[in-house]
């Protein structure tokens, strides 16, 4: 039985002018079903590339990525779209709700692409919005809501297809610390209910809310393990070259 998410020597290289950027450099990791994993790293560490690949928005240059046993690198664009629709729920830093659609319609977007009937869509969207505590605002437009509420809508939208993986990209980045904690609390709740949650963040204090941390640096995994171990939050570079630089 293979893991839900399986990276095997995944590389993502870009040509930028004359230089080859190694955004992901032989990353190998596994995430099992039901885990709550934080992928942590500074900007440029490759965590966004990692999230794009996990989210099937991008495919590796080399190496293989298996999602639920299927090799994503071999899929065409339509198949990738289907996988995103069925298997993945995205939560973005900027919420990314469609401003002209009300909450119901926003949550129904993934259902439309799954060809689910109108009546069924309404029911599913309503249920999931009630679950995140917005059952009384179904017809509101996103801009009538606070940031925290909007992020809850985006969580509802991520959940509505009951995906195998919930992928949260800096979900607290645009929120104050109080509402940020609420959102993390919701993710933890989802984890307890059995969902697989992958959290991408640069913030150690957010990352430690997960069970497991995968720390990336320069496109490589530098730590992979328990979120509560002391090494999880240590910046390895500080003990290496960067520390020497600092000493000077």
């Amino acid at each position: 039985m293979s893991a839900l998410i399986e990276f095997d020597q995944v590389c993502k290289y870009y040509q930028m002018g004359d230089t080859l950027v190694k955004a992901a450099d032989h990353i190998t990791m596994k995430i099992e079903k039901g885990e709550f994993v934080a992928i942590v790293g500074q900007s440029g560490s490759g965590k966004s590339t990692c999230m794009n690949i996990i989210g099937c928005l991008d495919v590796p240059t080399y190496g293989t990525y298996r999602l639920n046993g299927r090799d994503v690198g071999k899929m065409n664009r339509d198949e990738l779209a289907d996988v995103r629709n069925e298997m993945l729920g995205f939560i973005f830093q900027q919420y990314n709700l469609l401003p002209r659609l009300n909450l119901m319609e926003n949550v129904e977007v993934p259902l439309i692409y799954a060809n689910i009937s109108r009546a069924e869509r309404h029911k599913l969207a309503k249920d999931v919005l009630e679950k995140v505590g917005l059952g009384d605002k179904l017809k509101n437009l996103p801009n009538q809501l606070s940031g925290g509420q909007q992020q809850r809508v985006s969580i509802a939208r991520a959940l509505v297809r009951n995906p195998a993986v919930i992928l949260a990209d800096e979900p607290t980045g645009a929120l104050d610390s109080h509402t940020g904690r609420e959102v993390i609390g919701m993710l933890q709740q989802l984890h307890r209910e059995g969902h697989t949650v992958v959290l991408i963040t640069h913030d150690n204090s957010i990352a430690v809310q997960a069970e497991r941390i995968i720390r990336l640096e320069d496109g490589q995994v530098v730590y992979d393990g328990d979120a509560h171990a002391p090494e999880a939050v240590v910046q390895p570079t500080l003990s290496g070259e960067a520390a020497q630089e600092e000493a000077k």
């Binding site: 928005l57 664009r77 779209a81 990314n96 002209r100 993934p110 439309i112 692409y113 799954a114």
Partner: protein, 400 residues
């Protein structure tokens, strides 16, 4: 899914009302112009056909001016009809005698038409006698100065009792032996029409004009659809008599009508072409605004792709939006075209001097205008839609 795409398109079009309207303006004006122009063309064609069929589209007019010493006798022409029973049903001389203006008392009838004809002419042209008798063979044989007159002179000059009275045609006195029933029911429109006419024996007309043979005939065709064949047959017979094609001229109203229709159609096609430029410009306007829309909604496209929208779904969404915009423009153009046509029908008679030209939009032109506007939307919406569909979801999501 199709319904959903269409609903989304309407929603987007509706949420940008002013912009959509301005975008549609080119299409609206183009469709309106096409409808009005085609309508005007229909009206002109109809008006032309009406005035030609009044002349008789089943009639062949034959002019003979002879060639050297060769002439064609009346009997030659009668034989011509007998030889072509499938094409021609009858023929009569029709000498123009109109130089001799009728005069009754002190009143002259300057618009009247006068023809020297044979005994079959009245029936052949579809007139019926109201009173008195027709021109008879003996009148023709004896060059009698008798005539049959139309309803107009009978009514205005003789109070309806013209039979037995005399009428002066130029310097000559004629006895009226019969009067015809009116063809036009409205008495105000009779002057100068078929009802304002005088018919006399062609031999009399020949004698008084010093002519040795009739120079003008009118023949009735069996089938006006075969006007060209009938004309060719007559020309062939006349050529056989004169051995030259400079001695005669055969003219069919339906042939002229056809020519005229061709000309009108050509003008309409050119005008429609010019109006269509507006449709083209409108299409480019739609393309432009769709490109702006795609750029503005890059992030939305990214979100939709992350949620599982396929390229063809995004493509369909934007093409539908463009098509909806232009179809809406087309519909408004049709409505506006109808309004302008109605106004033109009120205004045109002031300028056309009694000619009965109406602007009558046809169903075909409306269907075509609508179809073309949708087609333009799809055509010019495709490029922006393709651009939207091709967007890389990662870049699109990051776009501000």
């Amino acid at each position: 899914m199709v319904l959903e795409t269409f609903r989304q398109a309407l929603q987007n079009v509706w949420s940008n009302k002013l912009r959509t309207f301005l975008t549609m303006l080119g299409i609206i004006i183009g469709v309106m112009a096409v409808i009005v122009i085609v309508g005007l063309g229909n009206g002109m064609t109809r008006s032309m056909r009406d005035s030609f069929s009044a002349m008789g589209t089943n009639t062949l007019s034959i002019q003979i001016w002879g060639y050297g010493s060769r002439t064609a006798t009346v009997d030659d022409l009668y034989d011509l009809v007998k030889k072509n029973p499938k094409l021609l049903s009858s023929i009569s001389p029709q000498l123009d005698f109109s130089d001799n203006t009728p005069k009754v008392g002190t009143t002259t009838y300057r618009y009247s038409e006068m023809y020297g004809v044979d005994e079959n002419y009245i029936e052949m042209k579809g007139y019926t006698l109201a009173k008195g008798r027709n021109i008879q063979y003996m009148d023709i044989a004896d060059n009698k100065q008798i005539c049959v007159i139309g309803d107009y002179i009978n009514r205005t000059a003789y109070g309806g009792n013209a039979v037995g009275q005399t009428i002066k045609l130029g310097p000559y006195k004629f006895r009226i032996v019969g009067v015809l029933k009116a063809k036009i029911s409205n008495p105000d429109q009779q002057e100068g029409s078929d009802d304002d006419s005088v018919y006399l024996p062609y031999t009399t007309a020949m004698r008084l004009s010093n002519e040795s043979s009739p120079d003008s005939y009118s023949a009735i065709m069996v089938d006006e659809g075969q006007a060209n064949e009938a004309k060719a047959a007559v020309e062939q017979e006349l050529y056989d008599i004169f051995k030259s094609d400079n001695a005669y001229y055969v003219y069919s109203a339906s042939e002229w009508l056809e020519e005229m229709n061709k000309m009108i159609n050509m003008v309409i096609v050119i005008l429609t072409g010019i109006a269509s430029i507006s449709l083209l410009v409108g299409g480019i306007g739609i393309m432009n605004i769709m490109l702006v829309s795609v750029t503005e909604r890059t992030r939305e496209i990214g979100i939709r792709k992350a949620m599982g929208a396929k390229e063809k779904t995004i493509l369909a969404q934007f093409v539908t939006e463009a098509a909806t915009t232009s179809a809406l423009g087309g519909t408004l153009g049709i409505v506006l075209g109808y309004i302008v046509s109605a106004i033109a029908n009120q205004v045109l008679p002031m300028f056309t001097d009694g000619m009965d030209i109406t602007v009558s939009p046809s169903f075909n032109s409306i269907a075509a205008a609508f179809g073309i506007s949708v087609f333009i939307g799809v055509l010019f919406g495709y490029l922006p839609a393709k651009r939207a569909a091709r967007l890389n979801p990662i870049d699109a999501l990051r776009y501000d």
